[in-house]
Amino acid sequence: MVPLWMYLFVAAALFCIGAYGVFARRNAVAILMGIELMLNAVNINLVAFWRYQTPFVMSGQVFAAFVFVVAAAEAAVGLAIIISIYRNRRSVIVEDVDLLKW
């Protein structure tokens, strides 16, 4: 059997990879992809803890299902914002969107 900490290890590594993508990329769509990776890391953690700690209560799986809903809503609205920015400023590089930074 694979012990619990190995799942947590993989999830932590995936979270940090996603965080690096969010911190370092310039393209807004790439930043959104990094956020998706971080959400997936959280999902691995939720399901792993559910499996090893409280398999009788379904809260871990239910939380993971709601993370799916939030991820879908976030992707839909976030990408719509990116498309709107592209239409107005002809760029999806986040450094170019600095109207509020004087």
Partner: protein, 173 residues
């Protein structure tokens, strides 16, 4: 930990997940990045099956790979951003590399190894042989004592996201 087929499959899916993640954040062409993201999400689906959550694995393939990844690819095509291939990282990329690595070390040494790591009391924890089916998940969603209200609020969130996306993305003319 003994090396049986279970741990080998775990190793394969972990490598798929992390390799896809690395490809996502490092690829120049955003279409390639989206394909790497699909690979990574598929690895996560495999981990869900190893954790006895087959319904979540199915949702992962249906919703994440079948819908969210496609949405991201559409957004890449709509913004024509893959033609700008110079300078994919911003000025602070080296600092963010250090911060991400430090975060990983912190999570590992500060939380995972001392509390759930090998040698601690939690390391002997075994996953139960209990199989949670889709029936249990359905009962959790619609049973009055469990998750009814979040279930309805999820629908409200989806409606808000739909209206928001239409308002923001629609052409004026």
């Amino acid at each position: 930990m003994e090396f049986n087929i279970h741990s080998i499959v775990f190793l394969i899916f972990s490598v798929i997940t992390l390799g896809g993640g690395l490809g996502t954040v490092t690829s120049r062409n955003l279409i390639h990045g989206a394909v790497y993201l699909i690979v990574s999400l598929f690895g996560v689906a495999g981990l869900f099956i190893l954790l006895s959550a087959p319904f979540l694995a199915a949702i992962q393939v249906l919703v994440y790979i079948g819908a969210i990844a496609i949405l991201i690819i559409f957004a890449v095509m709509l913004t024509r951003s893959m033609t700008r291939m110079t300078e994919i990282y911003n000025r602070q990329w080296s600092l963010s590399l250090v911060v991400s690595a430090l975060l990983f070390v912190l999570l590992l040494v500060g939380i995972i190894l001392p509390v759930w790591g090998p040698g601690t009391a939690n390391a002997a924890l075994q996953p139960s042989e209990l199989v949670a089916t889709t029936v249990d998940l359905g009962v959790a969603f619609v049973d009055g004592n469990q998750f009814v209200l979040p279930f309805e609020v999820a629908s409200l969130l989806l409606t808000a996201a739909m209206i928001g996306a239409i308002v923001i993305a629609r052409d004026r003319d």
